[in-house]
């Protein structure tokens, strides 16, 4: 009997456990398994295998029941998910339905989630930019949050490391605020994006328009072919999953790579209820898992645990991991776990038309989406009445201008005309928000989900700084568009609840001081050294870059550290 127990425990024991299979969990899995560690990856959702489980990937519009539009009944059942641009007939099967996974909104928060193997890495917008010291030094310079415990030199080699494998297209732009990386050829700006770039450079000097850097294989290297991935075919149907592996996802890249080592065990349908802290041993020994189908509770054990459940769910798991030693949640000696949550402010857009460059249009499709304006406000010193700044997307395209008046043969002829209208140009803001103690998540004391896990209560809102920054974005972009001779400029106050940006970050921030932060410079819990957090929960501040690339780099760096620490006996 006791032998059976020992055997069972052995079968449930791994060298490392990774909670979550999204963009950061996938990287943890790849790094651990490549370094020879038997690794268990736990995913709360179903399995999604590359290509095989992309049911809509080759469908034409007319093959969708409502040509892509979600039916009214589905929209009514899913008011939160419906607000996300991804939630259409071609990809809604990758988005969490509201009622299946409820949470409490102390303040409105559109929490968009992807519960399946690969998580949101199947759905992401694939924009990738490095941070610079202008970002890492932000909190210290501008007196908010806490100082980041790392600087650019600490992460730069790891950016290079993950970029080479993931496949990042971009140009070497030589900008201090957006360090260059290991790039595959960039996707070119089109005629009007290029024109706008020139106008901005001439007028302002410090406002740059660059080709958006994206996680697409514009030209494969051997390392990408070795993953079974090929060149991006410019389909821009990425949210359906890409049969070419043209963009980076856990499903196309890190997870199959990890599986090939023979060291990976992937367990879908596995909700992690908590991380197990053994008060006698004084360390974490494993995790408690609920099978989502059978509701059976199982424990798995490992020397080291990586929590990569996506920012807010990582907070939830840690908060729910209570022990004698950690009555307020794992690693939460200072009561700060779940606090200082921040996000990106996407709540303004602007559009216009341009009547120049009419001798050109575009042909094919640009997976990068167009241009990117790195932050130009308060970059080197404080210049405005708000802290920090914003990056912006910028893109231009021409649509055919169809006369849809009348009926009959005349209308039919007009519908077939492909005469092009003027260029349509547009931009959206991506603003840094300031982490505050008053923006937090915690566990609802009463409400539980279908598996008996406490529901997450979210209390996150914009503040005065966000309002001022948004006003500035609209003013500045209007001025810049006017300068470029764009007409019919329309400011769009695209007010939306936090969360819809899908860039929620923080709650278990990194810092030097255990009194004011949860994680140290290695993404390791200050108070419990064999637990690491390398997803969005670790972010001390948000800056303006799309965050996934930084999560990848931090993850690879943290695994490297953890494995070395295990080998030299620091982690046992």
């Amino acid at each position: 009997m006791s032998n059976l127990n020992i055997d069972a425990e052995k079968a449930h024991t791994f060298d490392a456990i990774v909670i979550g299979s999204g963009i950061s969990g996938g990287w943890a899995a790849k790094e651990f398994t490549e370094k020879g560690l038997k690794t268990l990856v736990l995913e709360r959702g179903r399995d999604v295998q590359h290509i095989k489980d992309y049911p809509t990937t080759n469908k034409y519009t007319y093959e969708f029941e409502h040509h892509g539009e979600p039916a009214l009944a589905i929209r009514k059942e899913n008011p939160i998910a419906s607000r996300c641009y991804i939630f259409r007939e071609d990809a809604m099967h990758f988005v969490v339905k509201d009622q299946e996974h409820p949470y409490v909104q102390e303040k409105p928060f559109d929490w968009i989630r992807g519960y399946q193997v690969g998580g949101k890495s199947l759905l992401w917008a694939r924009q990738v930019q490095r941070w610079s010291d202008l970002d890492f030094e932000g909190p210290a310079r501008d007196d908010f949050a806490v100082d980041w415990p790392i600087r650019y030199k600490d992460i730069a080699p790891w950016y290079s490391y993950v970029e080479k494998f993931a496949g990042i297209s971009g140009n070497k732009d030589g900008l201090p605020q957006l360090p260059d990386g290991e790039f595959l050829p960039g996707y070119p700006l089109n005629a009007v994006e290029d024109y706008f770039k020139k106008v901005m450079t001439n007028k302002y000097g410090n406002r740059h328009v660059i080709s958006a850097r994206c996680a697409h294989i514009s030209k494969p290297n051997q390392i990408h072919l070795d993953q079974g991935r090929g060149q991006c075919q410019n389909r821009t149907l990425c949210q359906r999953g890409c049969p070419f592996g043209g963009y980076f996802s856990s499903n196309a890249s890190t997870l199959p790579w990890a599986a090939k080592t023979g060291n990976l065990t992937l367990r879908p349908f596995s909700v992690v209820e908590s991380v197990i802290y053994d008060d006698k041993k004084g360390k974490v020994t494993g995790v408690r898992v609920i099978d989502t189908n059978t509701k059976e509770v199982t424990e798995y054990f490992a020397k080291v645990i990586f929590v990569n459940a996506a920012a807010l769910n990582t907070n939830l798991i840690l908060l729910n991991s209570k022990s004698q030693r950690f009555p307020q949640g794992l690693g939460n000696d200072n009561g700060q776990l779940g606090k200082f949550v921040a996000f990106h402010n996407y709540s303004a857009r602007i559009s216009a038309e341009y009547d120049g460059m009419l001798e050109y249009t575009t042909d094919g499709r640009n997976p990068a989406g167009g241009g990117y304006l790195p932050r130009f406000r308060n970059v080197f010193k404080q210049e405005t009445n708000f802290k920090r700044g914003y990056a912006a997307g910028f893109s231009a395209r021409r649509m055919s201008n169809k006369d849809m008046s009348g009926v009959g043969e005349g209308l039919k002829t007009n519908l077939m005309k492909t005469d092009l209208g003027p260029w349509s140009v547009g931009s959206h803001m991506m603003g840094e928000t300031i982490p505050k103690e008053s923006n937090f998540v915690n566990l609802d004391p009463n409400k539980k989900d279908a598996w008996g896990v406490p529901q997450l209560n979210i209390s996150v809102d914009y503040d005065e700084n966000d309002v001022l920054m948004k006003k500035d974005y609209l003013e500045q972009l209007t001025e810049m568009f006017t300068e470029a001779g764009f007409t019919n400029i329309k400011q769009n106050d695209a007010s939306q609840a936090p969360g819809l940006d899908i860039h929620e970050m923080g709650g278990a921030r990194m810092g030097h001081d255990p009194k004011t932060s949860i994680l140290n410079k290695w993404n390791q819990l200050h108070a419990c050294k064999n637990v690491f957090v390398t997803d969005g929960a670790c972010m001390t501040s948000t800056s303006t870059q799309n965050p996934s690339l930084t999560y990848m780099a931090l993850t690879a760096r943290a695994v490297d550290y953890a494995v070395k620490a295990m080998k030299n006996g620091e982690l046992t």
């Binding site: 080759n58 034409y60 519009t61 007319y62 029941e65 409502h66 040509h67 539009e69 979600p70 039916a71 009214l72 009944a73 996707y187 070119p188 700006l189 089109n190 005629a191 994006e193 290029d194 075919q233 410019n234 389909r235 149907l237 009419l358 001798e359 050109y360 249009t361 575009t362 042909d363 094919g364 499709r365 640009n366 997976p367 849809m404 008046s405 009348g406 009926v407 009959g408 043969e409 209308l411 039919k412 519908l415 077939m416 492909t418 092009l420």
Partner: protein, 176 residues
């Protein structure tokens, strides 16, 4: 005997997912399975003629042949609020009434030029009733959408590429 029954059942089940041949259904009912709308076969046939008037058969198929009216019904049934669905049905009836008023004949019985006049009349009537305006807007908008997104158009006329494999940001515009 039993085999026939099974075949019929299979056909009925298939009809729940796609379009059921009208011969197997209640003769007076629409040939598409609708969840919310109550549409008769007469109304469906009328919608087919309206769609065909909007986008007629020429050297290429028109809306009726491409079953665009069934797409319109599907969209109204699944994607619109109940109030809009009501307006759509009432508007269709209002169209019947004004046609009868103007021509003393039903829409089905008037010639194409008259049919066009009825529709353009609604399009240009700034004082059209709410239901007539709503019906026309939905009917025309969804007919155009259904047509432009139809397999026929997307694969024969304005070809949409599933796999472009290229991007050129300075593509010269062909001048006629």
């Amino acid at each position: 005997m039993e085999r026939r029954l099974v075949i019929k059942q299979i056909l009925i089940m298939a009809g729940g997912m796609a379009l059921l041949p009208s011969c197997l259904r209640d003769a007076g009912k629409s040939s598409v399975l609708l969840k919310n709308l109550d549409v008769s076969l007469d109304q469906e046939n009328l919608l087919a003629e309206i769609a065909e008037t909007i986008i007629p058969k020429t050297s290429t198929p028109g809306a009726k042949e491409l079953n665009i009216h069934l797409f319109v019904l599907k969209m109204v049934d699944d994607c619109y609020e109940p109030e809009e669905q009501q307006l759509f049905i009432k508007g269709l009836e209002a169209l019947k009434a004004i046609t009868q008023d103007q021509y003393r004949k039903s829409f089905m019985d008037i010639a194409v030029p008259e049919r066009q006049k009825v529709l353009v009349g609604i399009e240009n009537d700034k004082e059209a009733s709410a239901e007539l305006a709503a019906f026309y807007k939905i009917m025309k908008g969804k007919t155009i959408q259904g047509y432009l997104n139809s397999q026929y158009v997307m694969t024969n006329l304005i070809k949409w590429e599933l796999v472009p494999g290229r991007y050129n940001g300075y593509y010269p515009v062909k001048t006629a």
